[in-house]
C-alpha cells in the first residue's frame, strides 16, 4: 500500500516536471550577470499584450518573444531601464507596465483603493458608534421567558 502511494507521488512529481519543461522556453542569456539582472527585472515588469495577465517573461507566445528580443537589444544597445520602459509605453501605452506611472489618467488606479478603504472605515465607525449609543441609551428591561409569561 505504502509503496503504491510512493509510486503515485513519484508519477505526479514526474508529471509536474514534464509540464514545467513544456513551458520552459528560451530566455536567452545576456553577456554579463549585471545585464542579465536588468533583463530579468524588465521582462517581469512588462505585460504580454496577447495574454494580459502574464508578463513577457512568463509567456511563450510569439509577441512576448519579440518583446523580449526588443528588451535585450535595447539593453545591449546601451539604453537605460527608464528609456526602455518609455519606448514600450510609446508603442503600447501604459497598460504594458504592470506598475503604471502616477500621472493624469492613471492616478485613480493608485488612489481608488485608498478611497475605498477610507470609505469602509467611515461606514464601519458609523455603525459601531450607532450601536454603542443604542446600547448605552437603552434602559428597557430585557424580556426573558419568565417575565413574558
Amino acid at each position: 500500500m505504502k509503496a503504491r502511494i510512493h509510486a503515485g507521488v513519484l508519477v505526479l512529481a514526474a508529471l509536474l516536471l514534464v509540464s514545467n519543461a513544456a513551458f520552459a522556453f528560451d530566455v536567452e542569456a545576456m553577456p554579463t550577470p549585471e545585464l542579465q539582472k536588468r533583463y530579468d527585472g524588465l521582462i517581469h515588469e512588462l505585460r504580454c499584450m496577447q495574454c494580459q495577465n502574464q508578463s513577457i517573461a512568463d509567456s511563450p507566445v510569439g509577441l512576448a518573444e519579440d518583446l523580449r528580443r526588443d528588451v535585450r537589444e535595447q539593453i545591449i544597445g546601451g539604453k537605460t531601464d527608464e528609456q526602455i520602459r518609455e519606448s514600450m509605453v510609446a508603442r503600447y501605452g501604459n497598460i504594458i507596465l504592470f506598475r503604471p506611472p502616477f500621472q493624469r489618467g492613471t492616478a485613480w488606479v493608485w488612489i481608488a483603493p485608498f478611497l475605498f478603504l477610507l470609505f469602509g472605515v467611515f461606514v464601519g465607525v458609523r455603525i459601531v458608534r450607532k450601536r454603542t449609543s443604542l446600547v448605552a441609551g437603552d434602559d428597557s428591561v430585557i424580556e426573558t421567558d419568565e417575565t413574558a409569561r
Binding site: 509577441l63 519579440d66 526588443d70 508603442r91
Partner: protein
Amino acid sequence: MSRFLIPAAVFLALAGVLYVGVVHSPNKSTMQSVLLGKPVPAFSLPVLGNPGTMLTNSQLAGRPWVLNVWGTWCPACRDEHEALLAISQQNALPLVGLVWKDEDNAAIDWLKQLGNPYSVVAADRDGRVAIDFGVYGAPETFFIDSDGRVQYRHVGPMTQEVWNREFLSRIPKGALP
C-alpha cells in the same frame, strides 16, 4: 430620511462610473492605440513577392493610406479577407498589407488562392515593425493621413461597415486619390 441619503448617493455615483465605463468601451478587449495623432513609425521592409524592392513609410507619404496587419496563421484574417477584397474594389484608399511573422511563400500562396486586395504587401518577417505599430494581435488595420499621422486603429476583422464608418469618413473632402 438621511439613512437612505448616503447609500443612495453612493449607488448613484457607482452607477454613473459604471455607465460611463460601459458606454465608452463597446469592446473591452480593444485597446486604443497610443499612436493616434503621432507620426507613423518609420519602416523599410522587403516587398512581398518582389525580391530586392523595399517599401518605406516615406514612399507612402503625401496621401492617406491604410495598413492592414495579417498573417496566414491568423484565422480572423481569413474571415476578413472577403471584406478586404470588396473594399479594394471600391478603390477609395491604397490598402497596404503588412504580413506579420510569416513565410513569404505561404503569404504569396494565400494571395494567389484567395485573391489580393493589397496595392502592395510588406513582409515583416521578424515582427519588428509590428511592435513599432503597437500591434498585439492580427488582424489590425490603421488609417494614416496625408501628413503621415496615424489617425485610427481597428482591432479585429475589417467589415464594410467599419470601413465606411471609421476609414472612409476620415478621408478629407475633395482629397480622394
